[in-house]
């Protein structure tokens, strides 16, 4: 049998078809919700109906006696372990203990033979609460004498990655500060100062597959099938909580029905394991949408920002004070806040800036990661101030950016990675794509936006390639496939190294018992970091073959003969190993691994009678260094664009006194086919300036940060500057009425 030989450079840079298309199109792809485990029970969670209160009593007696019920779990069952977890701050009990801190918090859980029996038993649990004052927003939480959401001091989690954590100050659990130059004196001599107060709403990630976990606890072995993006981090937290060796915890992740950050770190896994432990049988818990909405969400934010410039449009200084509502438990809040702090100044040549970003506890559901976190929160604010500077100076916004944007090699943050992208080139390309200089009617506006997102997370990944005795290659890597396409990209990378066709490479899913360590799937890191590990693992096989041959002059057609020579029969396999570890300490301050480019443009049309904003054109820049699979790159940007339009125009979790009012898709709207812009362009830029394989760097998040900012700027260009998202017709219409009263409309 001969191997299909592929010429160098032919396996990457081409739009190979998705490796999972066949299974997924035919409905054969397995998700956790499709899986059954022998003797499996169904778990159902009793969730708090109030936002803040003391648990006076829980009566489970009736529920426990109901038909089909195996057990009921409450906080009292966790006395033998330290039940607090959280990868950043260990502030969250597996199930409520003494207090509930948000509407939807887990108060008890039932394991039963059928979902219906579990649901009926949950209804039969009687809980008496004593209500406490609700800390419903960041202003209340940071006011003097505010009630405390938690009395616990900060206990660092395993993976916050932010150096030494400071003690909690009231309800503030983390603060990130940047300070450069003499801020006050620069503001004092500025010709132009733009300032404002801004609010960004809470958003639900809506991975269409809700959080679902099957857990089995036998002896000291814990097995999980879980909708988690980071199986190795979940493994570590479960081992830590239940006091078993890391290797005794097996986390398997089949296909994920979307993630977008909502399945990052640990979510429903601890509760499911605790319930399985008590039941003595495997248990499956599958959230409903309303439950996943209170499992994690995007931080709502309030921000004060001011920007100083000269009258000829030179940007001088910026000051940012931002409060991030992380809800009752920190989740990934500290990292979100640090990333937002890094994004807040924007990639300009500042004389001075000061950033003070706080992560604040409130009685809302915990907020964590959502695609392009931090950058999405800050970019629309900072970029709207840059456009306001341009307007006041009578300059083209594109010209102000050409004048002030950093160039490759310049400092972005002291001690961190210098700029590794051509931002001026990027923004010019997206501006051209929306017809920047074309004539337009007064109700049409165009805007651009530029930003950076600290990407890559902690750069630790490993991969194993197995060259089998039939000439096929299997790649084992812990990256989870949630639609972004790593199995396809990794097959292309391994094939390129071994000069075979990508069809001959199979990439397996994450199973912590067999796949080697990968820190996480998120922060646009997989192609760059796990992909580099795959490249090294495949190159390792190639080197082994060359050693066996005694020459580097071998081709894929020689592989099988060389293996037979080495093993002396028709079996055996060559195992290639690839590892990526940090250069330097890998600390947050030295990072990021790369700056993900967030550059976009939009053209909108506003209807002043109704306040409806119609997005006609969008353009985003996928500055990816090298596109391993250009089609998948474009599709990532398009998906992020639609999510960006949802974030900008209408998606909003509405809270009143800590109660979530719109917890179904009937009243929380997700972008549909109807919301597609007339034109959506993705410009791929390949400068081979990334740290990944072949100069690649990650993508897929930047567009989500860039699009809302571009839409806000386009709307301001049409005469309606906004400082509050989302841009619902009502908000826009009210703003136009204000502008009329101020004599600024029509402009």
């Amino acid at each position: 049998m001969t191997t299909t030989v592929a010429a160098p450079g032919t396996q990457i840079g081409r739009s190979a078809p998705r490796r999972d298309a066949h299974e997924k199109l035919r409905g054969q792809a397995q998700f956790v919700g499709d899986m059954l485990v022998p003797r499996m029970l169904y778990g159902k969670v009793l969730r708090s109906p109030i936002a803040h209160g003391r648990i006076v009593s829980i009566d489970t007696a009736t529920a426990e006696k109901m038909p089909g019920v195996v057990c009921v779990l409450t906080g009292a069952d966790l006395a033998d372990i330290d039940p607090y977890y959280g990868h950043a701050i260990k502030d969250r009990p597996i199930v409520a203990i003494d207090k509930v801190r948000f509407h939807g918090e887990q108060v008890a859980a039932v394991a039963a033979e059928t979902p219906a029996a579990a649901a009926a038993a949950v209804d039969a649990i009687v809980v008496e609460f004593e209500e406490l004052p609700v800390v419903g927003d960041v202003a209340t939480a940071t006011a003097p004498g505010a009630p405390l959401v938690t009395e616990r001091e900060i206990v660092p989690g395993l993976f916050h990655g932010l150096g030494e954590l400071e003690p909690r100050e009231g309800n503030v659990c983390y603060r990130y500060r940047l300070d450069k130059g003499e801020l006050e004196s620069v503001f004092a001599r500025a010709d132009v100062v733009v300032e404002g107060e801004y609010t960004f709403q809470s958003v639900y990630q809506y991975a269409m597959e809700t959080h679902t976990v099957i857990a089995q606890y036998e002896g000291d072995q814990i097995t999980l099938w879980a909708t988690c993006q980071h199986p190795f981090l979940v493994r570590a937290e479960i081992a830590d909580l239940f006091r078993v060796p890391v290797a005794n915890v097996r986390v398997q992740v089949p296909y994920l029905g979307g993630g977008f950050g909502s399945k990052s770190y640990t979510k429903m896994e601890p509760l499911t394991v605790a319930l399985a432990r008590k039941a003595g049988r495997p248990v499956k818990i599958q959230n409903r949408v309303a439950e996943s909405m209170v499992t994690t969400r995007r931080h709502n934010t309030s921000c004060r920002m001011r920007t100083a410039a000269t009258s000829d449009g030179r940007l001088l200084a910026r000051e940012v004070v931002a409060l991030f509502d992380t809800g009752a438990y920190a989740d990934n809040g500290p990292r979100v806040v640090a990333t937002a702090g890094d994004a807040a100044p924007g990639p300009y040549r500042w004389t001075a800036y000061r950033v003070d970003a706080s992560c604040v506890y409130t009685n809302l559901a915990p907020a964590g990661s959502y695609r392009a976190f931090g950058a999405t929160h800050m970019q629309w604010i900072g970029e709207s101030q840059v456009d306001e500077v341009a307007r006041r100076c009578g300059l083209d916004p594109l010209e102000v950016r050409r004048q002030n944007l950093c160039v490759p090699g310049e400092e972005i943050r002291a001690g961190g990675k210098p700029l590794d992208a051509d931002l001026v080139g990027d923004v010019e390309k997206v501006a051209a794509a929306v017809g920047w200089d074309d004539p337009k009617s007064p109700l049409v506006g165009r805007g651009v936006s530029v930003g950076l997102l600290a990407a890559g997370a902690h750069p630790v990944s490993s991969a194993v390639c197995r060259l089998e005795a039939d000439g096929r290659v299997v790649v084992l890597v812990g990256t989870t496939e949630m639609g972004q396409g790593p199995r396809t990209a990794f097959a292309q990378i391994a094939a390129e190294e071994l000069r075979i066709d990508a069809d001959r490479v199979t990439v397996r899913g994450a199973d912590t018992r067999f796949t080697p360590y990968d820190r996480s799937t998120g922060a646009s890191r997989s192609t760059t970091i796990a992909g580099l590990a795959v490249q090294r693992a495949a190159a390792d096989i190639r080197q082994q073959l060359e050693r066996i041959a005694g020459t580097s002059d071998i081709g894929p057609d020689d592989y099988l003969a060389l293996m037979r020579k080495h093993f002396g029969f028709a079996g055996g396999e060559l195992i290639g190993r690839g590892e990526v570890a940090p250069v330097g300490t890998g600390s947050y301050a030295e990072g990021p691994v790369f700056w993900e480019v967030c550059v976009g443009a939009a053209e909108v049309e506003v209807d002043p009678e109704t306040g409806v904003v119609r997005v006609r054109r969008t353009a985003t820049c996928a500055d990816v260094g090298r596109a391993i699979n250009p089609q998948l790159v474009e599709r990532q940007d398009e998906g992020a664009t639609l999510q960006g339009l949802g974030n900008a125009l209408f998606e909003e979790m509405v809270y009143e006194d800590g109660l979530l009012l719109n917890d179904t898709l009937l009243d929380y709207r997700i972008p549909s086919f109807d919301d597609l812009p007339e034109e959506m362009t993705c410009v791929i830029v390949e400068n081979e300036d990334g740290p990944g394989p072949y100069g690649a760097k990650g993508c897929g998040e930047g567009a989500l940060a860039a699009v809302p900012a571009a839409v806000v700027n386009a709307l301001a260009d049409a005469g309606v500057p906004m400082n509050e998202l989302p841009l619902t017709p009502e908000r826009v219409w009210r703003r136009i009425q204000e502008l009329k009263e101020e004599g600024k409309w029509p402009q």
């Binding site: 997924k24 199109l25 035919r26 409905g27 993630g259 398009e638 992020a640 639609l642 997700i670 086919f673």
Partner: protein
């Protein structure tokens, strides 16, 4: 109640609870897990199946109401000759990512291609608005469907 129906061309007779949903019946009793549960309020379209050739949200459709009718799921559609064109177009245009919405999307597309209700970009955007995809941004799906409609 006892129901007798056709599922993917094969006769099925079962006793179901009056309140049992078609989605749960297909997934739990028949093991047809291609239809997915998500919003449960007939908005997202992941649970779409065809009943007598028309797309319905099986999360809001009683199994008992399927009595005497023909139900087609993705497992059935995938076995039909016309499926190859769908598969080829969706694969080539990368009209899928995580794959969770994909079965429902394909069933709606197959029914509306049949009835000729996807003949322009506007019509596609309007008539597929009942199937949400959070991943793709719809562009790849739109391209695949436009090509399929043009080839008819």
């Amino acid at each position: 109640v006892e129901i007798a129906l056709s599922v993917n061309g094969a006769p099925v007779t079962r006793d179901v609870a009056p309140q049992e949903l078609l989605l749960d019946f297909l997934r739990d009793s028949l093991g047809l897990t291609g239809a997915k549960k998500s919003c449960e309020v007939q908005v997202c379209g992941t649970c779409t199946v065809l009943v007598d050739g028309l797309p319905v949200s099986s999360c809001c459709f009683l199994a008992a109401d399927a009595d005497g009718r023909e139900v087609r799921t993705i497992e059935g559609l995938a076995g039909r000759p016309e499926f190859e064109r769908l598969e080829e177009a969706f694969t080539r245009h990368a009209g899928l990512q995580c794959g969770f919405c994909t079965p429902g999307m394909l069933l709606t597309v197959s029914a509306l291609l049949e009835s000729g209700e996807l003949s322009s970009e506007d019509e596609i955007k309007r008539n597929l608005a009942g199937n949400i995809c959070r991943c793709t941004g719809y562009r790849g799906i739109l391209e695949a469907v436009e090509e399929l409609a043009a080839a008819r």
